[in-house]
């Protein structure tokens, strides 16, 4: 099996070719080792960092997951964050620990 994909690990956006043969995965077209890690994950369990905002008393504050989470959980993650109504949210504050058992926390990224 051969698959073409674009690496999203950095803005270079390398064109990766991923070959799977007899359980061996080979990656070509990558500019650095992060491309190999990305490609292997992308064909087994694609993951993304989720960025969205959380409602506070005065409006919204931007948040992110501290690590990438399975792509299939993106919408569920956003729903978990949507449930919250925070009095206040400070820069770097963890608002959900281990969201959906992914190992990633949700933290506030806005700074004022």
């Amino acid at each position: 099996m051969e698959r073409q994909m674009i690496c999203i690990m950095c803005p270079m956006g390398c064109n990766l070719t991923v070959k799977e043969q007899d359980g061996q995965i080979t990656v070509t077209g990558n500019g650095c080792n992060r491309g190999v890690v990305f490609a292997k994950e992308e064909i087994s369990c694609p993951k993304r960092i989720v960025t969205t905002s959380v409602k506070t008393k005065n409006g919204v504050k931007s948040v992110k997951t501290t690590a990438s989470i399975p792509k299939s959980l993106i919408f569920d993650c956003v729903k978990e964050i949507e449930k919250l109504r925070l009095k206040d949210a400070k820069f770097g504050q963890i608002i959900i620990k281990n969201v959906l058992n992914t190992g990633a926390d949700v933290v506030v990224t806005a700074n004022e």
Partner: protein, 406 residues
């Protein structure tokens, strides 16, 4: 008020220019019209910033935060927020802030006001002008800063990065993004954004396609869209209707030059013509960031602004070395523009920043002075949407330098 360097604009370019100018020894005043420093980064809540500069992946507000802390800790930088520049004339900057009108007298001025979005008027979008036509950056501010949703059924015109980012953002906020239309045959956005913002969410991207007409009286009710020919003229036989309540425009950015003093500008970028010191035809006036040329990565803005800030500071302190002959740098075959627009004759390295006219696969980029080849760079895959950097040795150059695809 007197100072040595005035930096106008408190986004990434302005903050980096101010920090660098201060580090080089000048007293700096940084003027920002918003309440807080950070500029557009504050509304770019997605990740992907800082990989080059900080070697880690940050969101826009986090990237801005790092510089803001440094600016606020720097005793040689005086920050004026909620302050608008009304005029720049002969090293004098007129401002309107909490003390009313004031004038800052400086030795050098750095323009770092970024760019603004092209609007429906700029692209002569046909049809009516009901509520529901917004530019991508305005949509981003409404959703991410003000917490207001802009619509339920969205169509995006233009596949610039902010448009792609907003396609994902609006989808996560519960809207249905029906399509992204791109009039060109390639996207001007980063490839990674097409993948993680459109493909991840099954949002279709149509090339050679545009909106023929917006329909709606009070609110957008839909759009007629279809394909265009090679002269970008609508092919009427492909005309179709798509019901939607919102049209998001991501159709390009223009350097924010309206307050800038008269200076020679480049037709392609819309920004000022600068030499390798980021100095305009007015020796005291420097430019960096998106007001000079639109960047795809804020990391590159930061690096460029550090250079401009340093040279502005040296100029203000009377330490900028007087230079030899100025050699024009010209965009040749396949290249739409090259920065800087001139370099000084002499030794040493110089870094060119350029954009390609069309997609290029496995070709060489060369810098030539007559028959003398100053540098060569292999381009594996280049697209107009991604800025290229190209470092050469000046050695031997004594005349016009042409940068082109071989």
């Amino acid at each position: 008020m007197k100072t040595q360097v005035v930096v106008i604009g408190g986004g990434p370019a302005g903050m980096c220019a101010a920090l660098s100018a201060s580090k080089t020894g000048a007293k700096v005043v940084l003027v920002e019209r918003d309440e807080v420093l950070g500029g557009i980064l504050n509304q770019c809540i997605h990740n992907g910033f800082g990989l080059h500069y900080f070697h880690e992946e940050l969101t826009g507000p986090e990237f801005a935060h790092r510089f803001r802390i440094m600016v606020e800790a720097d005793k040689n930088i005086k920050v004026l927020t909620n302050t608008l520049v009304t005029k720049i004339e002969d090293k004098k900057v007129q401002i309107m802030g909490k003390n009313g009108f004031e004038e800052i007298e400086a030795q050098a001025v750095v323009l770092a006001m970024g760019c603004r979005e092209r609007t429906a008027g700029n692209i002569s979008l046909c049809g009516t002008r009901p509520m529901g036509i917004v530019t991508a950056g305005v949509a981003q501010k409404m959703v991410n800063i003000d917490g207001k949703m802009i619509g339920k059924d969205i169509v995006i015109l233009g596949s610039g990065d902010i448009g792609l980012i907003m396609a994902r953002r609006l989808t996560l906020e519960g809207a249905k993004v029906h399509a992204v239309f791109e009039i060109n045959s390639t996207s001007s956005g980063l490839r990674r954004n097409i993948m993680q913002c459109l493909e991840d969410f099954d949002i279709p991207l149509f090339f050679n396609t545009t909106i023929f007409e917006v329909v709606g009286k009070d609110r957008v009710e839909g759009v007629y869209y279809g394909q265009v020919d090679k002269n970008f003229q609508p092919i009427e036989s492909t005309r179709k209707f798509l019901k939607c309540d919102t049209v998001v425009l991501s159709v390009g950015l223009i350097p924010e030059m309206y307050i800038a003093p008269d200076t020679i500008t480049c037709k392609t970028t819309g920004g000022a013509i600068v030499n390798e010191f980021y100095q305009t035809d007015k020796p005291w006036l420097f430019c960096c960031g998106n007001i000079l040329h639109v960047h795809d990565l804020v990391d590159n803005v930061a690096l460029e602004a550090e250079q401009a800030g340093k040279f502005a500071s040296l100029y203000a302190l009377g330490k900028l070395p007087t230079q030899s002959k100025s050699l024009p740098v010209v965009a040749g075959e396949g290249v739409s523009y090259v920065l800087p627009y001139s370099v000084f004759e002499g030794q040493g390295k110089v870094e060119f920043k350029l954009r390609l006219k069309t997609k290029v696969v496995r070709k060489n980029l060369v810098a030539k002075c007559g028959a003398n080849i100053l540098g060569k760079k292999f381009v594996l895959a280049g697209v107009p949407g991604e800025m290229l950097k190209f470092e050469i040795e000046k050695n031997g150059a004594s005349d016009k330098i042409v940068v082109e695809i071989e």
